[in-house]
């Protein structure tokens, strides 16, 4: 179980306060809410990328103690971001991008999983479409067999067919590994179809 309890977090001022959320193995939790309601902040806290002001994060019963770059628990959580172009080193080929967490270049199985073919793997980000790059990001996120996958507006840049394809890949991964998924989106129709349950953050108070 990936659990955030009573999380208050933000940057200078708090964006979310006292929020609790649980992602169970094998389940998909949707996270919805208007712009500025703190969806991404909560995602970053649960992905151990951002230290909350207060509250605790637990992964399978272990309390998270470090939010520093090399947090050992980090590798149990995979993350996918909204803009694949900002999340891949532009100097890497897709093969190198997928291989980075693996530590070796044998990416064949992962590439098959997301349906990237040989020729595309040797291209750099500027030579492929957003959809193809997001496929590579998904392969990279699954490289270390995470127990949980956090998808922060993963489909924003994608057409309907690529969205359906990537959700299909994630569901197949879940069926195989019983991983839990947190799916963040402003698209209520998508979450209705994708998630087992959806949590809604309310709009931020006017500042």
């Amino acid at each position: 179980m990936l659990t955030g309890t009573d999380i208050t977090a933000g940057y200078r001022s708090a964006v979310i306060s006292g929020v609790s959320l649980t992602v169970r193995p094998g389940r998909t939790v949707g996270l919805a809410g208007p712009s500025g309601s703190g969806k991404s902040t909560l995602a970053r806290v649960l992905a151990l990328l951002h230290k909350p002001f207060s509250g605790t994060v637990e992964i399978d019963g272990e309390t998270v103690t470090g939010f520093r770059f090399k947090a050992a628990q980090r590798t149990r959580i995979g993350v996918l971001f909204q803009q694949p172009r900002l999340s891949v080193d532009p100097r890497f080929t897709l093969r190198q991008a997928i291989a980075e967490p693996l530590g070796h270049q044998e990416v064949g199985e992962l590439a098959d999983l997301v349906m990237l073919t040989g020729d595309l793997l040797d291209r750099r980000p500027h030579e492929v479409s957003d959809g193809q790059l997001q496929r590579a990001c998904l392969a990279r996120a699954l490289a270390l067999n995470p127990r949980y996958l956090i998808c922060d507006e993963m489909t924003t840049m994608l057409d309907a067919s690529t969205t359906a394809a990537l959700v299909g890949v994630i569901r197949a991964y879940q069926a195989r590994t019983n991983a839990g998924v947190l799916a963040i989106s402003h698209d209520a129709t998508l979450l209705d179809r994708w998630a087992d349950e959806t949590v809604r953050l309310s709009a931020p108070p006017p500042r």
Partner: protein
């Protein structure tokens, strides 16, 4: 008010050892008071087509065909001509990701005032029409939310009172409420006699405001027709697959991946992914000439 007549436009990029066929033989007419949505997945050539109309292509691009705006041939116009008579004055561009398109070190007001001065428009009116409050204008781009940055970009595109607005993925990253508000603003412009070319991968957005939808695949228009017909009774297997992939419908992907634009098949580019393909699809299908046109040998 004039029409935009795009006639058999192709755009190629010469790379080392390869040619990217980004736009192939695209014909499309946009009239005043009409919203046309150009729909397709990322990388299918939509943005390249828009760039060609505005003279924003990089140096290694070769264009052919014709794009006429009244008496002006856009593909042959000089940069000076485009800058002084077309851009901002006759064609306004709402760019992809407006927040990164704005100058980060100047307030929205100062950028809008500059555009108004150069184009001879009214900054206050444009801001009001785009739904901006005066206090928003004194903010710097990083202080604007995505929705507000979008409105500033709209105001900038509208300040010179162009009759055609090209909006390139304007809804990406916005909440549904903001998307609906933005689309309603576009629709009002269309109802006022403007024309809007909406470039998007969002079928729901296209369906909401477009009069006609053109579906692009691998650089070609494969289907064009009235918006509800294209979405609800698509004739091209690709359009049908795209509509069926929507989460409110089947939510099933189209099998396979689009072809590389450096290595397009001679026949129908969709045939390798198409369940209806037969030997006849090795010949390239031609877009028919009716109000709901399709480029397919075996339409649905």
């Amino acid at each position: 008010m004039v029409n935009l007549e795009i006639d058999r436009v192709s755009v190629r990029f010469a790379l080392k050892g390869a040619t990217v066929e980004a736009v192939n033989d695209v014909s499309l007419r946009i009239r005043p008071g009409e919203c046309v949505a150009l729909v397709g997945e990322s990388g299918c050539g939509k943005t390249v087509l828009a760039s060609a109309l505005l003279g924003f292509l990089p140096g290694n691009a070769e264009t052919s065909g014709s794009a006429r705006l009244g008496d002006v041939e856009l593909l042959e116009a000089t940069d000076h001509e485009l800058a002084t008579t077309i851009r901002g004055r006759q064609i306004g561009l709402v760019p992809q990701s407006p927040a990164s398109h704005l100058t980060p070190v100047r307030t929205a007001r100062s950028q809008l005032a500059e555009a108004a001065r150069v184009l001879g428009g009214d900054a206050a009116k444009a801001a009001e029409r785009a739904g901006l409050e005066p206090e928003h204008l004194d903010r710097y781009p990083h202080e604007l939310s995505g929705g507000m940055a979008q409105r500033v970009a709209n105001a900038l595109a509208l300040v010179g009172d162009p009759w055609l607005l090209i909006a390139d993925e304007p809804t990406t990253g916005l909440d549904r409420d903001l998307v609906d508000g933005l689309l309603d603003e576009f629709r009002r412009l269309v109802d006022d006699g403007h024309a809007v070319l909406l470039i998007t991968h969002d079928l729901a957005a296209a369906h909401r405001i477009a009069d006609r939808i053109a579906v692009m695949y691998a650089g070609r228009i494969v289907e064009v027709g009235p918006a509800h017909e294209v979405l609800d009774s698509a004739r091209h297997p690709y359009s049908r697959g795209l509509a069926n992939a929507l989460p409110e419908r089947e939510f099933l992907p189209i099998p396979g991946q689009p072809p590389l634009l450096t290595d397009l098949p001679d026949g129908c580019a969709f045939a390798p992914r198409c369940s209806r393909a037969t030997a006849i699809c090795e010949d390239r299908p031609v877009l028919t000439d009716d109000p709901h046109a399709v480029a397919c040998h075996r339409p649905c």
